[in-house]
């Protein structure tokens, strides 16, 4: 069997980097240890370069288990870009909190290796392994603030719910295997057809398989870990979970749903649609009550997951399936890109504020505009974008979803749209609460000016510019009709 090493070059680069980081950590002492961060960044850039060269190609290797197409490449770029940003916002945070830096970066890179594998995997076993590779290092990273009760507690919660949902997913996978005799996604799709497509066990198993991904994307009712974990975890890790890990979950969900379970799309579509409604409503409603910024962002990211689930809710089989599903995938992909840009940014600002002061209540953001105009501006832009204000990429993200709904309007689609609308408005309520605090409340006397480090500032600026530029010219990233390749495969 010939292995296409070019196809897995990004993963290889990242693996090598991870090992180098581990080795370098051994070699370096004291403050010098922090330079494993640029090393990791260098490797990430290398992986990005390697990934970019894969754009437009269609490589299949390891049997049919591993496919590198535009869908996968785009997701990989999304992950690697997020990784770069997280490295940027991690540097000083990790150094100052006396983490085990070498191990931290090693685990971070490992987790991202799992993510890179996710969109390319075309086999249930591979998906499972990739998912675990994302999760297991994340369990550890969440608990990395070892002497912090919150951190260890959130690690425990994350871990327990993670393995529980993994077990549920595995049970589902095992039964899918039992039913179809294969773990190959295309094979599964081929096996599910005709009368077999209506066997209750199979349909139930489909649901169980989705649970694992539902956990990753923190869809209701698999979302419980998210707020508790985000608020206990080191903030860069929370950012990673909220953005990259969630995107990986969506990548896996998309692959499974649109390739393997495409023949029963008319079953999981509506149910995922209902989950979408539940997810965004619950997320937004609870977010209204939050007084802690990180928890607010956590619930907001639950709600955002609900928005991203909407296109899945539109999926269907039958004559218009190709068009509708393609639009749905496009919407998901675009939304995830936008979401990554704005959410990492928001977490970045939160890091800058908390790192210096240890404060994270929304009230602590009072007068941020006076303490650091850059951070205030950044927070404003990111939150408005998360809400979907014009001239930010967030608007186009919502636009993409509505567009997917409007491709072929159904009553269910209208209901979803209505929920999207109402929820967008509710969401603005709490986003604006923060924005208002940032700009309109007086800073408590005596708080010093915030001077975020260069890396973090750079990341915030880049993401802010990205949010705004994509807000004006979304065409820079909307034009990738080729990402719908997985639909064609199904």
């Amino acid at each position: 069997m010939q292995i296409d090493f070019i196809a897995i070059l990004p993963e290889i680069i990242l693996t090598v980097t991870a090992l180098l980081v581990l080795a370098a950590d051994l070699a370096l002492r004291g403050d010098a240890k922090q330079f494993v961060n640029p090393l990791a960044a260098l490797g990430t850039v290398g992986a990005i370069v390697a990934t970019v060269t894969l754009w437009g190609s269609e490589r299949v290797t390891f049997g049919t288990m591993y496919v590198v197409d535009d869908f996968a490449v785009l997701f990989k770029l999304l992950f690697l870009g997020t990784l770069l940003a997280i490295l940027g916002i991690s540097w000083r945070y990790v150094a100052e909190n006396r983490f085990f830096q070498g191990e931290y970066y090693f685990l971070l890179l490992t987790s991202f290796i799992g993510m890179l594998l996710m969109p390319s995997s075309r086999d249930l076993i591979m998906l499972f392994i990739a998912l675990e590779t994302v999760s297991v290092p994340a369990f550890v990273m969440v608990g990395m603030r070892k002497r912090d009760l919150y951190s260890s507690e959130s690690a425990l919660k994350f871990f327990l719910l993670g393995v529980l949902s993994a077990a549920l997913m595995l049970f589902g996978m095992s039964m899918v295997y039992g039913f179809t005799g294969t773990t190959d996604l295309v094979g599964i799709a081929a096996a599910i057809s005709g009368e077999t497509a209506s066997v209750p066990l199979l349909l139930g198993s489909v649901m169980l398989v989705l649970v694992g991904f539902g956990f990753k994307i923190s869809a209701v009712p698999f979302h419980f870990w998210a707020p508790d974990t985000y608020s206990g975890a080191p903030i860069p890790v929370a950012a990673m979970l909220a953005v990259a890990s969630k995107a990986a979950g969506f990548a896996g969900l998309a692959v499974v749903a649109f390739i393997a379970f495409e023949p029963v799309a008319d079953v999981w579509g509506p149910i995922l649609g209902v989950l979408a409604v539940l997810t965004m409503s619950v997320g937004n409603l609870i977010a209204l009550q939050q007084r802690d910024l990180i928890r607010l962002l956590a619930y907001s990211s639950v709600a955002q997951a609900g928005y991203i689930l909407i296109p899945f809710g539109l999926a269907r089989t039958g004559p218009e399936a190709a068009v509708v599903n393609a639009a749905a995938i496009e919407a998901v992909v675009f939304y995830l890109i936008a979401y990554a840009v704005m959410n990492v940014g928001a977490f970045g600002v939160a890091i800058a504020v908390e790192r210096r002061t240890g404060l994270r209540s929304i009230a602590d953001y009072a007068g941020l505009s006076a303490r650091s105009p850059l951070l205030a501006m950044g927070m404003t832009v990111f939150l408005l974008s998360l809400g979907g204000a014009p001239l930010t990429v967030g608007l186009w993200a919502k636009f993409a979803i509505i567009e997917a709904i409007a491709v072929d309007i159904t009553l269910f689609g209208i209901v979803l749209a209505a929920f999207l609308v109402v929820n967008s408005v509710i969401a603005f309520f709490y986003y604006l609460k923060v924005v208002r605090t940032v700009w309109m409340d007086e800073a408590p006397a005596g708080l010093p000016k915030l001077q975020p480090g260069f890396n973090l500032s750079a990341v915030v600026v880049v993401l802010m510019v990205g949010t705004l530029v994509l807000g004006v010219l979304p065409g820079l990233v909307t034009d990738f009709s080729s990402v719908i390749s997985i639909v064609a495969a199904g």
Partner: protein, 103 residues
């Protein structure tokens, strides 16, 4: 032999694991319950492999089970480490003590 026997056994073990996860207070016992669930999955896989698809050259079911065992080992390691860490911080492994964060 009919596959239904092992499958029902697996379902039972799985359910017992779920029970343990939810009811057990000691974090280590919760982890044990999770392992029970994973083992149940393995029974499923082996049953399907050997009873329904014995001729599969890729031996998918058993390979899957092997991978699950491997992953389960990794999870146990990480899980115990998390529990130990928590124990060191608060001298307790009670899951329901871990409720600092809510709402």
């Amino acid at each position: 032999m009919s596959p239904i026997g092992p499958l029902v056994l697996a379902a039972f073990l799985f359910s017992a694991g779920v029970y343990g996860v939810i009811a057990r207070r000691n974090a280590v016992l919760v982890l044990i319950s999770v392992e029970l669930m994973l083992n149940a999955v393995n029974i499923n896989l082996v049953t399907f492999q050997n009873l329904l698809f014995p001729g599969d050259p890729a031996v998918t079911g058993q390979m899957f089970a092997l991978f699950i065992i491997g992953v389960a080992a990794a999870e146990v390691g990480v899980g115990l480490a998390i529990v130990f860490n928590m124990f060191r911080n608060r001298a307790s492994v009670d899951v329901d003590d871990a409720d600092l964060m809510r709402w």
